[in-house]
Structure formats: structure tokens, C-alpha cells
Amino acid sequence: MSKPFHFWGGLMVAGVLWGTAVWVSSEAARPGMPPYTKSAMPTFAVQDAAMVLNGARRFGADLAFIQLMQYYGSPEHSDPQVSYPLRKKTHRYSRSDHHKDREDSQSHNEEGHESGHLHLGSEGTADATDQPSAGFPLLGDFALRAGTLDPRFHFAYLFASGALAFNLNRGDDAVQVLEHGIRGDPTYWRYRMYLGAISYRKNQETEKVVATLEEAMKDPDCPSMIKNILAHIHIKKGNLKRAAEIYVDLLESRDPSYSTHAENQLVKLGVIRK
């Protein structure tokens, strides 16, 4: 066969195959994430864009969550003293902004407030009537960022909303996070369960809070933090037996900080000996 035949024949075959491929693509279902339009945290826009462009949005959400965990675990990110609502990020939050916030909060504070850095022993021990903590102002943003990348990354929303509501006493911020989660995945009913728990807490309906969190504990996706919070609530209410049961469950946690804390608590409760 001659060279021209091979060339034009190849082009024709390629055209037919490609056209058929385009048709298959147009007919195919495409379960997955909605189009990604912008990052919830401009500081990480480049990192997030790189993940999107490599088809790694789920992994990008994982990285965002790891950064959330590191942020929440870093004492230097806690702002002491005065409370303020969830910062809506319209500009790049820089070190100078952080210093300015500290100066503002110091100039306004009179009574002082224990910093909200991650301390497992204090999770869930605050009352709804306590002052909201100013610590970790970007906690919600990190969760929104993870959820924007992967709207079905439920854990990020549950973790952040739990921390905001029960540890940092910022129920409104927690509600905003959960509402963002509901927009991304309206079918995930546990968001509404957490909303219920936060609402009960606000109204000081402690029994209902306990009941809701007990229900949440049955979910295999329930964050260890929520279990820890529930255990502390039970200790506060004097239900040491139930608290011990929860700590036994927490011994299996993948997060070593929680499993270690649970072990220590069980020693304190006299259930196990070190």
C-alpha cells in the first residue's frame, strides 16, 4: 500500500475513533465533585489549584485536613482573650494581620480567658454560657477549604464544627461550617444531627445534647474528638461508668493523642492500672 493511503487512511480512522470517543464521553455519567471555582482560603489557592489540575481534589482535601489538624494542634495559633466571629477571608491572612489581631484583642480584654489551644482534657468541659474562645480563628476556614475541594469529606466538617461548638464555644461558627457541609452534600443526615446537638447546647438542654452525641457515636465516621467530648460531659454529670465505656472505645482510635488520653483517663478512673 502506498504512503498516501497510509496517511489519509490513518487520519480517517483516527477521526472516526475520536468522534466515537467524544460521543461516549458525552453520554457517560459523571459522578463526582462539582466544578471547582475558588479556594476558601486564598493563602492556599495555588496548592489547591495544583491539586485540582492534577485530578487530585480528594487528596487536596486530605492535605487541607492535615493542615487543619496541625493548625488546631499548634498553641501559637490560639489567640487569647477576646472573642470574635468567624473571619470571612477576603484577603490573604498574613503574619502582620495575626499580630494586629493580638494587639486589638489585648487592648480590648479586661478579664482574660484561657487560651483555646488543643488540650484534650478540656474538651467538652466548657459551658454554653462561657465566653466564646478567640482561639484558632481560621479553624472553620480550613474545614470549608477541605469541603470545597471534596464536598463529601464529611469528617472535616464534623471535626471542625465539633471543635468550634464544644471546645471553643463558637456555636454560630460551627453552624456556618455545617451549613456549608449540607450545601455540598444534602443527603448526609449527620450534619443535621450535629446542628441539633449545637442547638440543644445553646439552649442548655444537656440531656438532649448527650442523646444526640450518643447517636452520633454509633457512626463509624464519628470523630474521636466528639467521643472525647461526650466522655467529658458524662464525667461532668457524674456518669463515670459510661465515660469509661467511651474511653475504652477510644483506645482503638487511630489518633494516638486520643488513644493515649483515653488510657490516661481510664487509669484516673481506676479501670486500668498503668
Partner: protein, 253 residues
């Protein structure tokens, strides 16, 4: 058929005796081990992070071996003139192109399989329970790499320059993942932009259809998606190979 198998076999052997290929695979295996470190930072989500990072690692390193292998596959042979003794044999040129592609893809698939064996070993060690969605994601990953291997081969024959072909291939990989966003922006802009976006997405490889890694938790990710993925990837790959054969048929040495 014998000729095709012979070409595929020596291409496969050539990859395994290529130092760059071995270095990339080794690095991929090391990175797989590093997923444990990332997982430890994620607390309760350790298994999810190991799963996701492992899939990304295997795919990206597989892509690297595919792209670096494909850009040099034919170009190097043309420059070194080893191609003379092949093309002077009664071997149709399309058979040469397809055989080279097949040998390279099999070598890349083996590298991905090795990395995934390690990956799943780590996951089982961490108490992961097998998920049907993940088993479906693995062949889809292979399909993405298959499409990129064919596309890169086409780029190498089109541009006849290794750096240009490499850059262009990576650009197509990236833009292929941006299809949903391109269509979305076209719809937002309206008018001619919709058609332009559609044309652009038709030319680009539809990586969003094959990107099963990001579909794992989503309802509707089922056998139908897998079937469409196989069909699309197969057709697109064959189209690239047909175009490559057409271009190669005109090459003089």
C-alpha cells in the same frame, strides 16, 4: 501479530533495562512508604490519607514513566538509527507504532502494579477493609495512563523534540482534568463560549471521566461508569495510535 509481539517484547525489556525507569519506580516505592508518615499526621483519617496519597503516588509515578518513556521511544530510535534494521523488514509501520506503545504500556502497568501491591499491603496493615469502589478505581487509573502513553507518543511524533513533546503532554494531562471547570466557565460566559468550551473539551483527553480516585465516595460510581471509561479510553487511545501511524507513515529516514 508475531511482529507486533516481538516489538512489544523488546520495548518492554528496553524499559526495564533503562536506568531512568528503574529510578522512577524505586522512587515511587519509597514515596509509597512515605504515605505512612502522612497518614500519621491525619489522626482519625489516617487510612483515608494513606489510600488517597497512595493512589495519587502510583498514578503520578506511572505517568512519569509513561511520559518519559513515550517521548524517547521512537525519537531515540530514529536518532540512533536502530530503526533502519526494523523498517527494512516486512513490518507495516502501524504495527511498529502499536507494538512500541504496547510494550511501553505493559512496562508502565507493571510499575503501577508493584507500587499498588506495596500500597495495599500498607493499607491492610493499617486495618483497611476492601472497598469495591477502590477496586474499580485501579483499572481507571491504568486507563488514564494508557491514554497518556498514546497521547505522548503522538506528541513525540508531531513535535520531534523531546522537551516540547514532554511539556505538551503534561499540559494535556493537566487540561484534561480541568474539563468540568472549562464547561462550567463556558456556561457562565454564555454564547459562543459554550461551543468553544465544548470543542476544547472534545479535543482534550477527558480525564474527569477516568478520574475515579475522586469519585470514590460518590453515588453513581458503578459498573456503568467503569464501562464508559473503558470504552472512551480504548477509543481515544486507538485514535491517538491511528494518528501516530499516519504521521509515522510519512517519516523518512
Amino acid at each position: 501479530m508475531r511482529s507486533l509481539l516481538a516489538i512489544a517484547r523488546y520495548t518492554f525489556l528496553q524499559q526495564f533495562r533503562n536506568r531512568l525507569y528503574l529510578v522512577v519506580v524505586l522512587f515511587g516505592l519509597l514515596m509509597m512508604g512515605a504515605t505512612l508518615l502522612f497518614g500519621a499526621l491525619a489522626g482519625d483519617q489516617e487510612v483515608r490519607v494513606i489510600l488517597d496519597l497512595g493512589l495519587v503516588t502510583a498514578e503520578l509515578f506511572g505517568l512519569a514513566t509513561a511520559v518519559f518513556g513515550a517521548v524517547t521511544l521512537v525519537l531515540e530510535e530514529m536518532e540512533s538509527k536502530t530503526i533502519y534494521l526494523i523498517l527494512t523488514r516486512p513490518l507495516p509501520r502501524p504495527v511498529y507504532v502499536v507494538g512500541r506503545f504496547a510494550g511501553l504500556f505493559i512496562a508502565v502497568a507493571v510499575s503501577i502494579i508493584l507500587m499498588e501491591i506495596l500500597h495495599f499491603g500498607l493499607l491492610y496493615f493499617k486495618g483497611w477493609t476492601p472497598d469495591p469502589a477502590v477496586w474499580m478505581a485501579l483499572p481507571m487509573m491504568g486507563l488514564k495512563v494508557m491514554v497518556m502513553t498514546a497521547l505522548t507518543l503522538l506528541c513525540s511524533l508531531t513535535f520531534t523534540s523531546v522537551p516540547t513533546a514532554t511539556v505538551f503532554s503534561i499540559l494535556l494531562w493537566v487540561l484534561g482534568h480541568f474539563g468540568n471547570e472549562i464547561r462550567f466557565m463556558g456556561e457562565k460566559a454564555g454564547g459562543a463560549a459554550v461551543t468553544l468550551a465544548a470543542v476544547f473539551c472534545a479535543i482534550l483527553p477527558d480525564m474527569t471521566l477516568l478520574n475515579a480516585r475522586d469519585m470514590l465516595d460518590y453515588p453513581g460510581f458503578n459498573g456503568s461508569v467503569l464501562g464508559h471509561g473503558f470504552l472512551y479510553a480504548g477509543l481515544y487511545t486507538l485514535a491517538c495510535l491511528a494518528l501516530s501511524s499516519a504521521l509515522f507513515s510519512r517519516k523518512e529516514f
